[in-house]
């Protein structure tokens, strides 16, 4: 309302719409040279200044210099204004030639426009607004083309062909791009978009805006729909990892906003079908503000899951169907194998193995140097596994998802093995964890090894960094946020639990964390502190250092039944391997399709040495609701060996499972499964309020204007001011603007009043 009043006032004082001044060029129509005007302006100002200055002494003794300056300014302003008017100021602006330009009128006919408000649906309101002479006025001056907008634009002959509001999605950006392409050889002077701004393509991209600006086509937007829906709670998004290891701990960030329930409490929960996985009480923040809350829950057994994140319905809530969003999560059952290389029998080795005993998703395969010449192997699947010691071939080492290196000096690994370790992280995408020990890190001469860049720390240069002395573990701020260190869901309870942990049996000085590394925990030994758990991403994989071998005391010294030690190790090792990719990795950009069935499959395919396999045959086998079954061949992505892609459309709402298989000849390279969900109720139930922000930004960035339906009477007057299409340069004289007369009157009045006040009349 306020903006409309301002616009009206502007046009009253300036005679022309603001668009004329923003797009026009200021000129002086008089034939006299402009330099004479400049000289006269300067001369007048100087003359007036001299006259006032010379008379100060002769006026009342109490006139001050600043008062004289004010008088001079006011008099100069009037004289300068009059002088400028003598030179006949004007503004030249491009104006569309009548009947030679096309104005495209786009009416959003998607499902959200079918929402009824005030007795009529939004699309009916749009049609009514056009029928109130607006369309007629436009047609009087321009060639108008009507379009129906949903996922694309479709030209229609009259308004009667619009109004189904049945389309499940709106893609404003795609529609505008299509319009530009179809009218590339037409003189389009402007676009009028009537919509509620609900866009399923997540916004209008910069390329579309740039294309409109290149052709100087302004988009005038007309907004429909209530700007706020109250009272209501609406879920905006739930962000959760699309894949998880069975029985692992997951964290979801849930975003929502509300109107009308400030300060109230509600329950936020996550469900798998009827089973509540986790819930907690939250308090609503300010109205309209996007609030973000975290929920921790257990991933549960393996399988493709559709998890529902929701808040409980509130009293008198207008729309309860938008209180919940669903997200697919693939919980994997495949066991991840970790190779643990230990240089000497020690307690940490025993208790790490015991901690992982209950974790069915991670298997530790260990090789322990019991004597100088004997290796004791545990957890092997086959008597031949590791019979020759640490692997020397990629296809042998890359069968593991993670590696733990205990108290082992760098020289134990040959140069070939060291190169393989690097490739394990960089190319294969595996995780490597280095433990503290008297032959580890600096004391194991890792400083001089070729693997020093794998470490997330810069090792100290001095020796004897390993100390058999007690140290207490402390959580850092980064560790408090990390799932690795989460011994309790509640952050305060977690911090308390860490404080109660017994001292570690030993500690090692690991050096300085590298930039980009995260220190999740530190150790306090006497008055000194040292980083304890440091992690970083490296290439496709990740590495970490745990600078102690004394966490076993957490198991032996805590009360029987305490699970701190077990939880810590299970979570640490799951982090180590959870993101280690297989030989085939399938991805979809959006796992939840909102009112839109288009899905783009991508796959990364590697051979048993994890080199790209561009010659693989890759297919996606899709199964969906109602017995939908389809096989889609995936084609190589140009210039990206090993990458494949395919497009497909999910016709029905529901959950889909796509299994991507890759083979080369008779050899199967691998397979991966990805699930996605098509949800068709978004337009009806979510973001039902008008997206005024999108409409205003579209108008502002293209040189147009945002309109309310009630203000469309002036649309036909403003639209002609466009630089697009076939235009003529119109000169608008400015000498008779009401604002100029008002300024002269105000200046003279103020001067007279001040003179009287200061006694110099």
């Amino acid at each position: 309302m306020g903006l409309a009043v301002v616009r009206t006032m502007f046009e009253f004082f300036f005679r022309y719409p603001a668009r004329v001044f923003s797009q026009g060029d200021f000129v002086l129509l008089s034939g006299w040279p402009k330099w004479i005007l400049c000289i006269l302006l300067l001369g007048a100002a100087v003359a007036l200044g001299w006259r006032i200055y010379s008379r100060i002494g002769r006026t009342a003794h109490n006139l001050k210099y600043w008062q004289a300056a004010v008088i001079w300014l006011l008099e100069s302003m009037v004289v300068c204004l009059v002088l400028v008017l003598l030179w006949q100021p004007a503004i030249v602006v491009a104006e569309l030639k009548p009947q030679q330009n096309v104005i495209a009128v786009l009416i959003d006919d998607s499902r959200s426009m079918g929402i009824s408000e005030g007795g009529a649906t939004r699309v009916e309101q749009a049609k009514q607004a056009l029928q109130n002479n607006v369309l007629a006025e436009l047609q009087a001056k321009f060639q108008t083309r009507l379009y129906r907008l949903d996922r694309s634009v479709t030209r229609v002959n009259n308004l009667q062909e619009i109004g189904d509001a049945a389309a499940p999605a709106t893609h404003i950006g795609d529609g505008l791009n299509q319009l530009l392409a179809e009218t590339s050889d037409l003189p389009v002077g402007g676009v009028v978009l009537l919509s509620d701004g609900s866009d399923n393509s997540r916004g209008i991209d910069r390329d579309t805006i740039a294309a409109l600006r290149n052709r100087h086509i302004p988009v005038d937007t007309v907004g429909f729909g209530e700007e706020t829906v109250s009272p209501d709670v609406e879920m905006d998004d739930a962000v959760v990892a699309p894949r998880a290891v069975a029985d692992s701990r997951l964290s979801a960030e849930i975003r929502f906003h509300q109107h009308g329930y400030d300060g109230r409490k509600a329950t936020l929960s996550v469900r798998d079908g009827d089973k509540v996985l986790s819930s907690r009480e939250i308090t609503f923040a300010g109205a309209g503000k996007i609030q973000s809350e975290e929920l921790l829950f257990n991933a549960g057994a393996a399988g493709a899951k559709s998890l529902q994140f929701s808040t409980d319905p509130q009293p008198d809530e207008k729309n309860r169907l938008n209180n919940s969003v669903t997200r697919p999560v693939d919980v994997e059952s495949a066991q991840r194998r970790i190779l643990y290389v230990e240089g000497e029998p020690r307690w940490e080795y025993k208790f790490i193995r015991r901690a992982e005993d209950d974790d069915k998703t991670v298997q530790i395969v260990s090789m322990l140097r019991t004597t100088e010449n004997k290796i004791y192997r545990q957890g092997i699947d086959d008597p031949k596994e590791l019979a020759d010691g640490f692997p020397v071939r990629p296809e042998d080492l890359f069968t593991y998802s993670g590696i733990i290196i205990g108290s082992v000096e760098a020289g134990y690994f040959t140069p070939v093995q060291q190169d393989l370790l690097r490739e394990f992280v960089d190319r294969r995408g595996g995780g490597v964890l280095f433990l503290g020990g008297h032959s580890s890190l600096g004391d194991g001469v890792w400083t001089g090894s070729s693997l020093v860049d794998l470490l997330p720390v810069v090792l100290p240069t001095h020796k004897n960094t390993f100390h058999r002395a007690p140290a207490y573990a402390e959580l850092t701020a980064a560790g408090a946020d990390s799932l690795i260190c989460r011994l309790a869901d509640d952050p305060d309870a977690n911090a308390l639990r860490w404080k109660k942990l017994p001292y570690l049996m030993d500690y090692q000085e690991a050096g300085t964390p590298k930039p980009g590394a995260a220190v999740l925990a530190q150790m306090r030994a006497g008055s000194s502190k040292y980083p304890m758990l440091i992690t970083q991403n490296y290439g496709r994989g990740r590495t970490a250092v745990l600078a102690t071998s004394g966490t076993w005391r957490w198991q032996m010294s805590m009360p029987l039944g305490d699970t701190s030690h077990q939880m810590f190790w299970q979570q640490l090792l799951r982090w180590l391997v959870a993101d280690t990719p297989g030989r085939v990795v399938a991805t979809i950009p959006n796992r939840t399709l909102l009112d839109d069935g288009h899905v783009h499959f991508s796959a990364d395919v590697r051979d048993d040495e994890y080199q790209p396999a561009p010659d693989a045959k890759v297919e996606a086998h899709v199964i969906g609701p109602g017995g939908i079954s389809s096989t889609v061949e995936m084609v190589p992505v140009p210039d990206t060996p090993g990458s494949f892609q395919a497009d497909w459309t999910a016709d029905k709402a529901g959950s889909y499972v796509a299994e991507v298989t890759a083979g080369r000849g008779s050899e199967e390279l691998g397979r991966d499964v990805v699930t996605f969900l098509r949800s068709d109720d978004v337009a009806e139930n979510f973001h039902t309020e008008q997206n005024r922000d999108l409409l205003e930004r579209l108008a502002q960035q293209t040189g147009g204007r945002y309109w309310r339906p009630g203000d469309l009477g002036k649309l036909a007057e403003e639209i002609p001011y466009s630089q697009a299409g076939i235009t003529m340069r119109e000169t608008k004289e400015l000498w008779d603007l009401p604002i100029l007369f008002l300024l002269i009157l105000l200046a003279r009045s103020m001067e007279w009043l001040l003179r009287r006040r200061w006694g110099i009349v």
Partner: protein, 269 residues
């Protein structure tokens, strides 16, 4: 006269070393110097040979080693057996062990810092409720106990009376040749009875009615051995007298191999 002889025996007991000698042909071993002045004996290490000091049953008298300095059955063969074994541990494995033994008890939580514990003459042991609970928790959290040097049916019953205070219901099983505990460091297939030092003068491998060696164990819920039971044998003596030419080498070697395997198992399971 009897009193003087008894006192003399007691004085000799204070000389250190084990006086596990009875009967004809007994001998007094040369004095054994337990030099703890070397710094290595004081350095903290990864592994400590930990001998359990327990309360002896009041209905048992004697107990080798006498009273006073060592006192009680727990100190049988102590500390020479411990030291000799530690020498073998250092020589034959990569375990970083302190060269001197550690005595632990169930009176405090300090025992939880020593996840592997050895106890002898366990027919004489008994526990208070607190001690039994502590031992129970110790074993359930991952501790390992090896018991040795008790012979025959009566000793077994008395050992089990103490054990049942810790684990009232857990079964005691025989260890098979193929059990992992016998193959961690050395592959020990067929085993034989390992006698104490008494074999030297008696020629018998058994004591009391313990004719058949029983290699037994108590396991946790996941099947891991928590208590390794050496019944009708005396490994401690075999370690202690391994350097005596009269004590047969096969017994000593077997005893070392079993002990090392038990330690390796305790550090890996």
């Amino acid at each position: 006269m009897v009193l003087v002889l008894g006192l003399a025996a007691g004085v000799v007991a204070f000389q250190g070393g084990s006086l596990g000698t009875q009967g004809p042909g007994s001998f007094f071993p040369p004095s054994y110097s337990y030099d703890d002045s070397q710094s290595a004996s004081k350095e903290p290490s990864e592994f400590y040979w930990s001998r359990l000091r327990y309360t002896s049953r009041v209905d048992m008298y004697g107990g080798y080693g006498g009273y006073g300095g060592y006192g009680g059955s727990w100190s049988r063969d102590y500390p020479k057996a411990d030291r000799q074994f530690l020498m073998a541990l250092k020589r034959l494995t990569r375990i970083e062990a302190r060269p001197t033994e550690q005595v632990v008890d169930l009176d405090s939580d300090d025992i939880f810092n020593y996840p592997w514990v050895y106890a002898v003459q366990v027919a004489n042991w008994t526990f208070t409720d607190a001690e039994a609970k502590r031992l129970h928790d110790y074993l359930m959290k991952g501790g390992f106990l090896m018991v040795d040097d008790f012979h025959g049916t009566a000793d077994w019953d008395r050992f089990m009376a103490g054990m049942r205070m810790v684990f009232p219901d857990r079964p005691v099983e025989d260890l098979a040749d193929e059990d992992e505990i016998f193959h961690g460091l050395y592959d020990i297939g067929a085993r034989f009875q390992i006698p104490g030092e008494q074999y030297v003068w008696s020629g018998r491998t058994y004591e009391k009615d313990g004719y058949v060696p029983k290699w037994r164990a108590i396991r946790d819920d996941k099947g891991r051995v928590m208590v390794a039971i050496c019944h009708n044998m005396h490994l401690g003596d075999a370690w202690e007298w391994a350097d005596d030419p009269r004590y047969p080498e096969p017994f000593a070697s077997m005893a070392f191999r079993v002990g090392l395997d038990y330690i390796m198992y305790g550090m890996t399971h």
